[in-house]
């Protein structure tokens, strides 16, 4: 197995008494697509800033591309592409100039960076907007430009913090497609998300993070197999009746979760469980049988939903 490009051992970040990241350990292999899944405030962004060699750890060990970020910050960062949670493009510059200026930060000669900027605009499907002001781009276009900017130094690792938060479904799919292409080209991707579908689409392997600690680790399929059932039956009886009904049907399926708006019944056969309810004379307002997702894994592990 090739040496990992990232090795975190008991990685910790404390702000005074508060541990934003509380001793997490993981490896990322070259070419792997690795995800940190967790709700807001789980410590994902803080972890990303440490991986990005910007924020200094307060405990544990961290190696990125075999180097210690405390000592080799510039060397590490020159090999990383960073897509932050909030776009920080220069809105006062034009689209192409954003790439040029950023490329220069890496010490890339002007002629090289100009050529790369044109290639990246093609890749990001923004070639026709090269001279546009950043302000005039849509949210999805800004995101794509931010990703293009992160690629200007041909990074070995691309760090993406909530890459599609706030985008409409179509823009998300375009972005996923671009990221998938990078993955195919062998770029290591590390991303945080609180969208389970995004994690399932993009990640070979992920860790579920909550309150600064790792709750579980594995591929999306493994995590679902280990921590959830094959199928989930979702039934709604109305917000005032859900809790009452849940008591009546205790014992149905492998496990039951009661959420404010619906009841989740975990089972290998959702349709059979629904038949079971109907035979008891319990007629839900709506019912849905679906495959288990990472959302269910998260609920199981933390007792909370991802998006609150």
């Amino acid at each position: 197995m090739p040496a990992p490009v990232i090795t975190a051992t008991s990685l910790t970040k404390k702000y005074k008494d508060f541990a934003a990241v509380d001793g997490i350990s993981f490896d990322v292999a070259p070419g792997e697509s690795f995800g940190l899944l967790g709700p807001n405030g789980a410590g994902k962004s803080t972890t990303m800033r440490m991986l990005g060699a910007v924020s200094t750890r307060t405990g544990g060990d961290l190696e990125i591309l075999g180097l210690d970020p405390d000592r080799y910050g510039p060397e590490i960062r020159s090999q990383l592409g960073v897509v932050p949670q909030a776009d920080n493009l220069d809105q006062e510059l034009r689209v192409r100039d954003n790439l040029i200026v950023y490329g220069r930060y890496f010490g890339i000669p002007r002629a090289v960076v100009a050529k790369r900027a044109d290639e990246l605009l093609e890749f990001a499907q923004l070639a026709d907007r090269a001279k546009a002001k950043v302000d005039d781009l849509s949210g999805g276009m800004k995101r794509r430009l931010t990703i293009a900017r992160a690629l200007v130094n041909e990074p070995k690792i691309l760090l993406l913090d909530e890459p599609t938060t706030g985008l409409d479904p179509q823009a998300r799919h375009i972005l996923w497609d671009r990221l998938f292409r990078l993955k195919e080209q062998g770029t290591t991707l590390v991303l945080t998300t609180h969208y389970m579908d995004e994690a399932e689409q993009l990640c070979d392997r992920l860790v579920v993070v909550d309150k600064g600690a790792i709750m579980a680790e594995g591929s999306p399929a493994e995590l679902i197999r280990l921590h959830s059932s094959r199928e989930v039956l979702e039934v709604r009886f109305g917000s005032d009746r859900n809790a009452v009904v849940a008591e009546q049907i205790a014992g149905v399926g492998d496990r039951i979760e009661v959420l404010p708006d619906r009841i989740l019944i975990y089972s290998s056969d959702g349709e059979a469980e629904l038949g079971h309810l109907l035979r008891q004379g319990l007629e839900p307002i709506t019912s849905l049988v679906r495959r288990s997702s990472l959302e269910d894994v998260f609920l199981r592990l933390t007792g909370r939903t991802l998006i609150e």
Partner: protein
């Protein structure tokens, strides 16, 4: 891992300059405005004060050696230094606040190989260049007005730029601490820059002020810069130790402010 460590060499060495390139590119967007004000300002001020107001100034202005100096020659070095201070206060208030807050390019730059100190340095370098250009143009107009008796006056471009720098780095250190805009930038302009412009021996010798107001001049970088400019432009006769104090004062302020700006920048960006 040698190929990995080599990629850090250029950013480590030239990082500040790359930031300066970025800032200069931003200035180019309003380059015509910069040029127009750089030429227009000295024309307006020198004409209004050096020609207009000068016709009312009755009291003879001594050069400290028994000779007299025209009001135009007296006021011109002060206006030159003020021009640099104006550029510094323009470039290091809102643009810096904005680069943290509304258009957070500093945060973006910090994800690249650059350090916080290099980002601070780059911003300052770009402003030094803009001040130097503005002062050079200003000086050119001063020559056209015949406001510079001594050839040494050209060095005033340097002393004026350093004066602007000394004020600018302190402003930048402060601006870098601002997280919420409650009008602090306007306060700097109204309650620091403008009074400094008025009470730094700009339009009349500091000695004309009542004793209890003269301290404003002593702590004002603009006064120190202006007096140096006068020594160079028309040979204002002041004791050598005082000229040395002017230089030391400006340099100490520059070094202290610059260091503070770097530290505050790092505190904010390295979280």
């Amino acid at each position: 891992m040698s190929d990995v460590t080599e990629t850090g060499i250029r950013p480590r060495r030239f990082g500040a300059w790359y930031v300066a390139e970025h800032r200069l590119l931003l200035m180019r967007a309003y380059g015509s405005t910069i040029l127009a004000t750089s030429i227009g300002n000295p024309l307006v001020y020198l004409f209004a004060l050096g020609v207009g107001l000068a016709s009312l100034v009755q009291a003879p202005l001594g050069d400290g050696r028994g000779g007299e100096v025209s009001y135009l020659a007296f006021v011109a070095p002060a206006l030159l230094a003020s021009a640099a201070v104006t550029v510094a206060s323009e470039e290091l208030t809102y643009p810096v606040l904005s680069a943290f807050k509304w258009n957070p390019v500093f945060v973006g730059a910090r994800s690249s190989p650059l350090s916080s100190a290099q980002i601070a340095d780059g911003v300052i370098i770009a402003v030094i260049l803009r001040m130097a250009v503005t002062c050079a143009i200003y000086f050119g107009v001063m020559l056209l007005f015949g406001a510079v008796p001594s050839p040494l006056g050209a060095l005033g471009i340097v002393t004026a730029t350093v004066t602007g720098l000394a004020v600018g780095v302190v402003i930048m250190a402060y601006t870098s601490t601002v997280t919420e805009d409650k009008g602090q930038m306007a306060i700097i302009q109204r309650f620091i820059i403008t009074p400094m412009f008025l009470f730094s021996g700009t339009f009349f010798p500091l000695a004309q002020l009542p004793g209890y107001l003269q301290w404003i001049g002593w702590i004002s970088p603009l006064w120190h810069g202006t007096e140096l400019g006068r020594v160079l432009a028309y040979g204002l006769n002041e004791p050598l130790w005082l000229s040395v104090i002017h230089v030391v004062f400006l340099l100490v302020l520059t070094v202290a402010g610059w260091r503070a700006a770097r530290i505050i920048m790092a505190r904010r960006l390295d979280k």
